[in-house]
């Protein structure tokens, strides 16, 4: 009897101890995040005001000026890459989820993994070689191509993982009604997986919105407000990179401001993805 009681006490203590350990470690892992957010807010919020959001950059020496062109540029470039990456990524994801085995599947999975781990600057160089060099001009379009390549693996794997979770019985229900295979995929499987695909895409956008390296020799940056996709375009990460490496105090201040705006944008995308995942979730 005593033996059991002692054993129980030991169990309870161990349970308490491990639980405490988990809490401490969780807390520790959150420290860097909160530190970054705190420091960015402290440094950045001072430079952010209405005119910073709505004005174009001014030359060195003149005070004021803003990053309107970079905000718009980031939105344009990110949207364009999403438009390019979604059709290819979702198609590949469907293929992987439906086919499951085979030579092409193996190859596709391998390439997705490699693309996932390719350094972003390499993708920038590739886009430079493919588009900037033949066109003899830096362009927003080439930046979008580089970022689309970065987004692809996220979209492919989120599509694949989501579609794999859809019960086979649903597919059978459709096939048993005499629905051809392609219509089953398009009208039953895909709509059932839409929440996962959208979430994956939003996370992909959040991931590329802050990328600098692929844009360095593609979108290049520009001090003007530009809507032409085939001309250089500014983006927030480029502003941060250029301003932070400049020798001017005023520009450093603005780099902090731009960083703050960028992280708020990325956070919004992440929260949107989380919210969307629960909102559009489909119960089977």
């Amino acid at each position: 009897m005593k033996e059991i009681e002692r054993n129980c006490k030991k169990r309870l203590f161990l349970n308490w101890f491990v639980q405490a350990l988990v809490f401490v470690i969780t807390g520790l892992s959150l420290v860097p995040l909160f530190f970054i957010l705190f420091y960015l807010t402290k440094q950045g919020i001072g430079s952010v005001n209405w005119s910073f959001l709505t004005h174009l950059p001014r030359p060195v020496g003149e005070s004021g000026g803003g990053v309107l062109n970079a905000i718009i540029g980031t939105l344009i470039i990110a949207s364009l890459s999403t438009i390019m990456a979604i059709p290819i990524g979702v198609t590949a994801g469907i293929y992987l989820a439906e086919k499951k085995t085979g030579k092409l599947v193996h190859l596709l999975r391998l390439s997705t993994d490699i693309l996932q781990s390719t350094p972003s600057i390499v993708l920038g160089v590739i886009a430079y070689l493919w588009i900037v060099k033949p066109a003899q001009s830096f362009s927003a379009f080439s930046g979008s191509v580089a970022l689309a390549m970065m987004m692809l693996p996220t979209i492919v794997s989120s599509t694949e993982e989501t579609l794999k979770l859809i019960p086979y019985t649903l597919k059978e229900a459709s096939l048993a009604l005499g629905v051809p295979y392609y219509r089953t995929v398009l009208k039953v499987i895909l709509p059932s997986g839409i929440s996962g695909i959208l979430t994956g895409t939003l996370l992909g956008i959040a991931r590329i919105a802050g990328e600098t390296a692929p844009l360095l020799f593609t979108a290049f940056g520009s001090p003007y407000l530009n809507f032409n996709l085939f001309k250089p375009m500014n983006a927030l990460p480029l502003v941060i990179f250029n301003y932070a490496s400049s020798p001017y105090l005023e520009w450093w201040r603005q780099a902090w401001g731009a960083s703050f705006i960028l992280i708020v944008m990325v956070l919004c995308f992440n929260l949107l993805a989380k919210w969307g995942a629960s909102k559009w979730k489909i119960k089977f």
């Binding site: 019960p167 019985t169 649903l170 059978e172 229900a173 459709s174 096939l175 048993a176 009604l177 005499g178 629905v179 051809p180 219509r183 089953t184 009208k187 039953v188 709509p191 059932s192 839409i194 489909i282 119960k283 089977f284």
Partner: protein, 252 residues
């Protein structure tokens, strides 16, 4: 003898090298309920899935022999056309989670891109749900998603979905195995009511269910059709020793 609607001749079914059905010769009468029973793994479900050619979609699924749908050779038809003529209801209720109750019922038209007029669609939805004894329970929220319904209601929705296509035969694959006794009783009543308008083939694990609903019963054992006949005769005076042993609970 009555008209036969589904006839198999020397039917063999395989999964890769594994032979699941051996030399099955079965004649399923029109507008009757035929039960296929047998122990697990005897090939009941495979036989059912040969009739709407869903078996061919399983990895390595292959059929040899003949199946006739009335006077036409079912294996020479396009599988898609076969599945529009022969409806199926599965073990677990599987309404489409993205669609409303209304859309679920006419899913066979919608998903196939068959254009129907609004009034016609309303009509099909109403009659199908009425036939499936679900109309009174759902008529006030036809445009809500079907997934909040109970398991039994979902299964009746699936039956309505199959009936909406006006099938010549309805295949039921252990339709009550995932349901509670009350829903099971409800579905059994429904099946009996339906037989005037559609031929029903039901696979069941449950001897009692075969006894309660079926006009004819087939006993399948290890991929062979051991015995087939009117349910009453088969239950009271089985000709084969194996049937007798199965019915008395010696195996299965």
């Amino acid at each position: 003898m009555e008209d036969k609607i589904l006839i198999t001749e020397k039917l063999y079914a395989y999964y890769g090298e594994h032979c699941v059905l051996k030399d099955v010769n079965l004649e399923i009468p029109k507008f009757k309920i035929t039960a296929i029973m047998g122990p697990s793994g005897c090939g009941k479900t495979t036989l059912l899935r040969c009739f709407n050619r869903l078996h061919e979609l399983s990895p390595g699924g292959r059929i040899e022999g003949q199946i006739w749908l009335g006077k036409t050779n079912l294996l020479s038809l396009n599988p898609i056309m076969v599945r529009r003529k022969i409806g199926m209801v599965f073990q677990r209720p599987n309404p489409f989670p993205t669609m409303s109750i209304y859309d679920n019922v006419i899913a066979g038209y919608k998903l196939n891109g068959i254009k129907i007029k609004r009034e016609e669609a309303d009509q099909i939805v109403e009659t199908s749900l009425k036939k499936a004894a679900l109309w009174n329970e759902v008529k006030d929220f036809l445009h809500r998603k079907g997934t909040f319904l109970s398991g039994g209601q979902q299964q009746r929705l699936c039956i309505a979905r199959a009936l909406a296509m006006h099938p010549e035969a309805l295949l039921l694959d252990e339709p009550t195995s995932a349901l509670d006794p009350k829903s099971t009783a409800h579905i059994e009543e429904l099946i009996i009511e339906l037989k005037d308008s559609v031929t029903i083939v039901i696979v069941t694990h449950n001897i009692g269910q075969a006894g309660r609903v079926a006009d004819y019963t087939a006993f399948l054992y290890l991929g062979e059709l051991v015995e087939f006949g009117p349910t009453e005769r088969l239950f009271t005076a089985p000709k084969d020793k194996r049937t007798e042993e199965y019915l008395s609970g010696k195996f299965g």
